[in-house]
């Protein structure tokens, strides 16, 4: 579903991501972790087609992102860490706009349960300026889920959500993965990754340090110890520093 081969992203002379390869199959949730500046956001932005990679290929739902970007983008949804919304569109108008962009003919039937699930139904006719940060985040999620994407990229998805919202978001990610979506999730909240992810990919200075199932990566850095937490694995894998 997501196939990445030798992905490299350079900004001038600075290499943010170096020859990264991995794949995520339907039903899998990949946790992308690494210290600040490891290249997580650059990787996610390349995968979502926001910025072109300097080298390498990205295939989304069988479509090469550089060859057929429109078909690839039709299958994906990107959820940024900062909710980016149109100031003059109400919650309902956001969904109308997104439905037209993706050509979702029955969007009204889809939008209603989505708004109720995300507790936005009562706020359907208000502007983003009147929403809390958590509600804005939920609106971004509603817009992203409207076209039933088979590939989803989350950049720090829990920022700004209340405890109940966090629980629902985690359940939602797991449910959609079970329904066959391939999910990549970038977060510093390692306990979230432990709860939600089936696989983990650790980055440091743009290089892949570890990649595999949670149990596999834990075994790689456990030094023979039993029940090593992801936090301990992360610290050992990254050397305990940002640089």
């Amino acid at each position: 579903m997501i196939e990445v081969e030798a992905l490299t992203k350079r900004y001038g002379t600075f290499t943010a991501v170096r020859s990264l390869s991995f794949s995520v199959r339907p039903g899998e949730v990949l946790g992308l972790v690494g210290p600040n500046g490891a290249g997580k956001t650059s990787t996610l932005r390349c995968l979502a087609g926001i910025i072109p990679p300097s080298e390498g290929t990205v295939r989304i739902a069988g479509h090469d992102l550089s060859v057929d970007p429109v078909a690839a983008k039709r299958a994906l949804a990107f959820f940024p860490d900062e909710p980016r919304l149109f100031e003059y569109l109400t919650v309902r108008q956001h969904l109308t706009f997104v439905a037209r962009i993706y050509g979702v003919a029955d969007y009204e039937a889809l939008a209603k349960p989505l708004l109720e699930e995300l507790e936005l139904a009562e706020k359907a006719d208000v502007l983003p300026g009147e929403l809390s940060r958590g509600m804005k985040q939920k609106l971004v999620i509603a817009c992203g889920l409207l076209h039933s994407p088979s590939v989803m990229f989350f950049d720090e998805p829990l920022t700004g959500l209340d405890p109940l919202g966090i629980r629902r978001m985690k359940d939602s990610i797991v449910r959609r993965a079970r329904e066959g979506a391939a999910v990549v999730l970038s977060s510093h909240l390692l306990h979230l990754l432990e709860e939600v992810c089936t696989n983990v990919l650790i980055l440091k200075k743009g290089n892949k340090v570890a990649d595999g199932t949670l149990a596999g990566v834990a075994a790689q850095f456990s030094n023979g110890e039993a029940d090593v937490s992801l936090e301990e694995v992360f610290i050992r894998a990254t050397g305990g520093s940002e640089t």
């Binding site: 900004y11 001038g12 600075f14 932005r45 979502a48 087609g49 926001i50 910025i51 072109p52 970007p69 429109v70 078909a71 690839a72 983008k73 039709r74 994906l76 949804a77 990107f78 940024p80 980016r84 919304l85 149109f86 100031e87 003059y88 569109l89 109400t90 108008q93 109308t96 706009f97 439905a99 037209r100 962009i101 993706y102 050509g103 979702v104 003919a105 029955d106 969007y107 009204e108 006719d125 208000v126 502007l127 300026g129």
Partner: protein, 594 residues
């Protein structure tokens, strides 16, 4: 304590100056500063045809006209000031307050300082912008030659005027604040103040009109005494006393020489001191009003930074129904048109008022076009004036309109990441984004075309301008208008994706002369582009019409020229959109800000 506050103000100013100087190391700011400096030197600083210092009445033959012009400008400024003060009394904010920035409120309001100290801080803070404005005004007014004399004396004169005005406005706000807080008859006080201002303006107007009529009827052939015309009006007993406060405040600026200036400064400074006493002695709780004012100003600044036209008074946007029903399927570009039309601020354009205006204007202009008596619309002079005004406004719409109508990629810059995840080619996103401003500018051009055509007539020497030719020309130009607008709108969007660093700096309203220079350059680029794209097409059209009209007639010649020019314009627009889309797909704002 005031020392600490002054330290804050002057350190901030010094850091700002140092920051501005340091950033000149970046070429975009250095070039902008150079362009702005050249503009100020050649356009504002240079006053052709003047040499030594001259007083207002110092130029024989022109003194009377200058004095009249000077008096008109001063009267206009006084009227503006009165209107602003009357507005403060007519529509005071819920919580009147003084102007502080949000950081000033955060640091100073909880600090152990008295209200009086805060007022003094506010007054001293305002002096920085007043001094800058005074120097700028002295240069500006010298440029137009209404008042000769030393620029520095004029700058001091402007300082007196602006400081008195600032103190008066602060005094009014504090008084309103105190009245709202203490008086049960707040409304009566306001009504009284507004009535007093209205009575004063009426009295001045009544005296001035009466005197002007009397003087004009009495002068007759004695027009040579025009240099004393204003003196005679202003020296009449009633007007002398009515305008005395303003005359005193404007005295130092109007002084012809150093002696007059010194003499005029004494009463002007007394009035300034009286204002200071009024402001510093008014006990009022201005904190809440100041916080509300700072929040409104921050909202306006934020809107300006995003590139929006700030709403009047920083009003919060309201939810509105879409401009038309948007079906969930169909070409996605229409979704952008729908979204961007929604973003037009209702506070500036009431759609109902706009529709009413268009109906009235259209019925006024279009009706005669289809009537058999087109010549009955006004006199020849009036028709020429309407056509000239329409032409000027059309040129303004084509050249400046794209800088004002920004409901396109420029407004959506913060959402660029989201736009790029949409399943659309870059050129289609660009086209969708440009549809709304294109529609707005095209509508304006169509209206102007119809207005011009309705008043033009096949008069003497222009018998060829028949109704048929006019209708054909309007239809052909109307077809070209959206393409011209689209091409012109592509230019600033190109600049945005090519040089986002420059663009970001130029859209900010906290720039300084460097960003003024950058805006000037962008304006010139827009003009040059218009010349490069539109002038050749217009030239080709003219050539075709001129050469073929003898054979096929004017109307068909216009159609032929349009058939040739339209594909050229469409090709240019298509290339521009394709290239803009390509650039947008590769565009990464995060790379630009590294």
């Amino acid at each position: 304590m005031i020392g600490a506050l002054l330290y804050l103000r002057f350190t901030s100013l010094l850091n700002l100056v140092v920051h501005r100087i340091r950033r000149l190391r970046q070429p975009k700011y250095l070039v902008g500063a150079a362009v702005a400096a050249a503009y100020f030197y050649f356009v504002l600083g240079h006053r052709p045809g003047t040499g030594a210092a001259q007083g207002i009445a110092g130029v024989p033959g022109f003194a009377g006209d200058r004095q009249i012009g000077f008096a008109i400008i001063c009267s206009f400024l006084c009227l503006l000031g009165l209107v602003r003060i009357a507005y403060a009394w007519i529509s005071p904010p819920e919580k009147p307050g003084l102007r502080f920035s949000e950081p000033e409120i955060a640091f100073l309001f909880p600090a152990p300082v008295t209200r009086r100290t805060l007022i003094h801080y506010r007054l001293l803070s305002a002096q920085i912008s007043i001094l800058f404005s005074a120097i700028l005004m002295a240069f500006l007014f010298n440029r137009f030659g209404y008042a000769g004399g030393s620029r520095w004396l004029h700058a001091i004169g402007w300082w007196v005027i602006l400081s008195t005005y600032d103190l008066h406005l602060n005094g009014t706000n504090l008084t309103l604040c105190r009245l709202r807080e203490k008086s049960r008859h707040f409304l009566l006080w306001r009504l009284g103040a507004v009535a007093a201002i209205a009575a004063y303006v009426a009295a001045v107007f009544w005296c001035a009109i009466g005197l002007v009529e009397a003087l004009l009827s009495g002068m007759g052939s004695a027009r040579s005494g025009s240099e004393h015309f204003m003196e005679q009006i202003l020296d009449s007993p009633a007007l002398h006393w009515l305008t005395l406060p303003f005359r005193i405040v404007f005295g130092p600026y109007a002084a012809a020489g150093l002696g007059d200036f010194a003499a005029a400064m004494v009463p002007a400074l007394l009035i300034l001191a009286a204002h200071y006493y009024w402001v510093s002695g008014t006990e009022a709780r201005f904190e809440e009003g100041s916080i509300a004012l700072a929040e409104r100003r921050a909202a306006i600044r934020a809107a300006a930074h995003r590139g929006d036209i700030p709403a009047m008074g920083g009003a919060v946007p309201k939810a509105r129904p879409g401009p038309f029903p948007l079906a969930p399927t169909g070409v996605p570009e229409m979704a952008f048109l729908w979204k961007n039309l929604l973003s037009i601020r209702s506070s500036l354009f009431s759609r109902r008022a706009l529709v009413l205006f268009l109906i009235v204007m259209t019925s006024m202009f279009i009706g005669p076009l289809f009537s058999a008596h087109a010549s009955s619309v006004g006199s020849d002079a009036m028709r020429k004036l309407v056509v000239a005004l329409c032409g000027m406004f059309a040129a303004y719409t084509i050249l400046v309109g794209p800088q004002l109508a920004r409901q396109d990629l420029r407004n959506d810059l913060p959402n660029a990441d989201i736009l790029k995840t949409y399943p659309m080619e870059g050129w289609r996103i660009a086209l969708g984004e440009l549809l709304a401003p294109t529609a707005i500018l095209t509508a304006i051009l169509w209206f102007l075309l119809l207005a011009s055509a309705s008043v033009l007539d096949a008069g003497e020497g222009a018998e060829w301008l028949t109704k048929g030719v006019r209708l054909t020309a309007v239809a052909c130009l109307g077809l070209a208008a959206p393409l011209v607008c689209l091409i012109q709108l592509i230019v600033p969007n190109w600049i945005m994706v090519l040089m986002p660093g420059w663009y970001q700096a130029s859209r900010s309203r906290v720039g300084g002369i460097e960003t003024f220079g950058q805006r000037l350059m962008f304006g010139v680029i827009q003009l040059l582009f218009a010349l490069a794209v539109i002038v050749p097409a217009a030239g080709a059209a003219w050539l075709i019409i001129f050469s073929s009209q003898w054979v096929i007639g004017v109307g068909p010649a216009v159609v032929l020229a349009t058939l040739v020019v339209l594909p050229i314009l469409a090709g240019e627009a298509a290339f521009g959109l394709w290239w803009l889309g390509e650039r947008f797909e590769k565009f990464d704002l995060s790379t630009e800000s590294r």
